[in-house]
């Protein structure tokens, strides 16, 4: 538990600077409200996502290593990575570099900022839960999310273990439920919380991806959820932008808004959705919260 306020390094990643820019904005806003100061690391580069792993083993370790080095040499102890894809590729790189010293030397040979393997990587839920444990979050809640029945969708990348102990249960994570229930929502238990949305397959193999997303949606509707909540920009984009298509394909009539957890936390803290640029969703997110009189 953090006694003295410390700066946390922040790696936004490419999608938080482009298609999910509003998630970047919300993350910064919520953390500043919670009193955590995020410092974006200097001149970061792309982590290669899952594509690098499918292209070349060396590249998959080397690309995230550059960012690890930058954060470590700037003196940070912790780095927040909100995007699940970036989080898992950095975690994978770090684990490989800890166990493969020759590879570490080879990669460090090319880097201006060397990797020392001292950085702790955290995902967004871990930091939120820490703020909750410190009591910083509870005092900020001004509005209870009564009537909201979210399906907490973690996706496959945050629970991905790869021999690294992750903070939550890999099969039935509870982090988002803990936060949402504290804000007064009634989160529903459901079966697809760690299922995969297909990620890039939505573009290069749409038939497969739409089937996967259809299954996720079907279960969420069946359990009586009225919205989906996620922390991953890829999951959010897929479930949101393609919802019309995969629902038509799977014969689902309902449409559910897909929130980022930061948006719901924002509502609970009294920040308006407009301030958080929430108009950038494909499926309307205002209707539900207005109906429940949360805003």
């Amino acid at each position: 538990m953090r006694e003295v306020q410390m700066d946390v390094a922040y790696y936004p990643g490419c999608s938080l600077h482009q298609s999910s820019q509003f998630y970047d904005l919300q993350t910064r806003r919520i953390f500043s409200e919670l009193g955590v100061s995020l410092k974006e690391i200097e001149d970061w580069s792309c982590c290669g996502a899952t594509s690098a792993g499918k292209f070349n083993d060396f590249l998959a370790v080397a690309l995230p290593a550059r960012n690890l080095g930058i954060a470590e040499q700037a003196g940070f102890k912790e780095m927040l990575i909100p995007c699940s894809g970036c989080y898992s590729s950095h975690l994978m790189s770090q684990t490989r570099l800890r166990h493969n010293i020759p590879l570490l030397h080879e990669i460090n040979g090319e880097l201006a900022f060397k990797v020392t393997n001292t950085l702790k990587l955290v995902n967004i839920l871990e930091l939120f839960l820490e703020a909750k444990d410190n009591g910083r979050f509870e005092s900020k809640i001004v509005k209870k999310l009564t009537g909201l029945k979210p399906a907490c969708y973690y996706g496959c990348m945050t629970r991905f273990a790869y021999d690294v102990p992750v903070s939550d249960n890999v099969e039935n994570p509870q982090g988002m439920e803990t936060l949402l229930d504290m804000m007064g929502a009634e989160s529903r238990d459901w079966s697809y919380k760690t299922a995969c949305c297909g990620a890039s397959a939505a573009i290069n193999d749409p038939d497969t991806a739409f089937n996967l997303m259809g299954k996720i949606m079907k279960n969420a509707v069946k359990r009586g959820c009225n919205c989906i909540v996620t922390t991953c920009p890829m999951c959010q984009l897929n479930l949101d932008a393609y919802q019309e298509k995969f629902c038509n394909k799977a014969g689902i009539y309902e449409r559910l808004p897909v929130y980022f957890i930061t948006e719901l936390m924002g509502i609970a803290m009294g920040i308006s959705l407009q301030e958080m640029n929430a108009d950038r969703h494909f499926i309307d997110v205002f209707g539900l919260v207005k109906e429940l009189e949360l805003v």
Binding site: Q18, F55, N56, F58, C156, A241
Partner: protein, 217 residues
């Protein structure tokens, strides 16, 4: 798809197993075919072949089938198989390794789009240091549409263009499309990594062609 996983080929088994184990760092000998990975496999329904079958193909030395099947290409890398495995085998790493091997050995991908996509992504991010969604999607679509045109499938090419324009337009409307070029000043390092990776790839290919089989590089 018929799988000849029961036919044992001792000669090719040895080299295949060694290569897969070393490159994926997964001990596939530990697999006792409990099929928990199969029941959890996200794409098992689409592919008809699950991680357990893939591991059996490697152990029995069916090199061709192990490198050329639907799972190798359609695996979405969700790593569910690995979290369920009682012996801690990350089969997702195995399919990724097989994907790389199959490309090194010039096997024509069952779904070329997936290969185009990952190539376009990696080339995009190593060119600028950061991925530019518009740019790499452009490269990917050029390859994808080009493939249709080469095969005289003009209808398919047209449909693809219309589909992507619609997606682009809706992204633009929601202000989720960004035209500014994102770069990293230190992209020289990233480019150097790309060069090193390609060098390793060529060395691996040459090694295999010269008949030495797989050697760690």
């Amino acid at each position: 798809m018929t799988i000849s996983s029961t036919i044992y080929n001792p000669q090719s088994a040895k080299t295949l197993i060694d290569e897969v184990i070393e490159r994926s760092s997964q001990n596939i000998y530990a697999c006792y075919q409990c099929r928990r990975c199969a029941s959890g496999c996200t794409v098992g329904e689409e592919t008809g072949i699950t991680p357990d079958v893939l591991i059996r193909l490697i152990i029995t030395g069916n090199r061709e089938e192990a490198l050329d099947n639907a799972l190798v290409w359609q695996c979405v890398s969700c790593y569910t198989c690995g979290t369920r495995c009682p012996n801690n085998i990350q089969s997702g790493r195995v399919t990724e390794t097989l994907k790389k091997m199959s490309r090194e050995e010039d096997v024509i991908p069952l779904n070329p789009n997936i290969a185009y996509f990952h190539d376009a992504f990696v080339q995009g991010c190593t060119r600028w240091g950061r991925v530019n969604e518009m740019e790499f999607m452009g490269y990917y679509e050029l390859k994808n549409i080009g493939k249709h045109l080469i095969n005289y499938q003009f209808k398919k090419a047209y449909d693809e263009i219309v589909l992507q324009i619609k997606l682009g337009a809706s992204m633009f409307k929601q202000k989720r499309l960004h035209l500014k070029l994102h770069t990293s000043r230190g992209r020289k390092e990233v480019k150097q990594f790309y060069k090193m990776a390609m060098k390793k790839k060529t060395a691996l290919k040459d090694d295999k062609k010269s008949g030495f089989g797989y050697r760690h590089v």
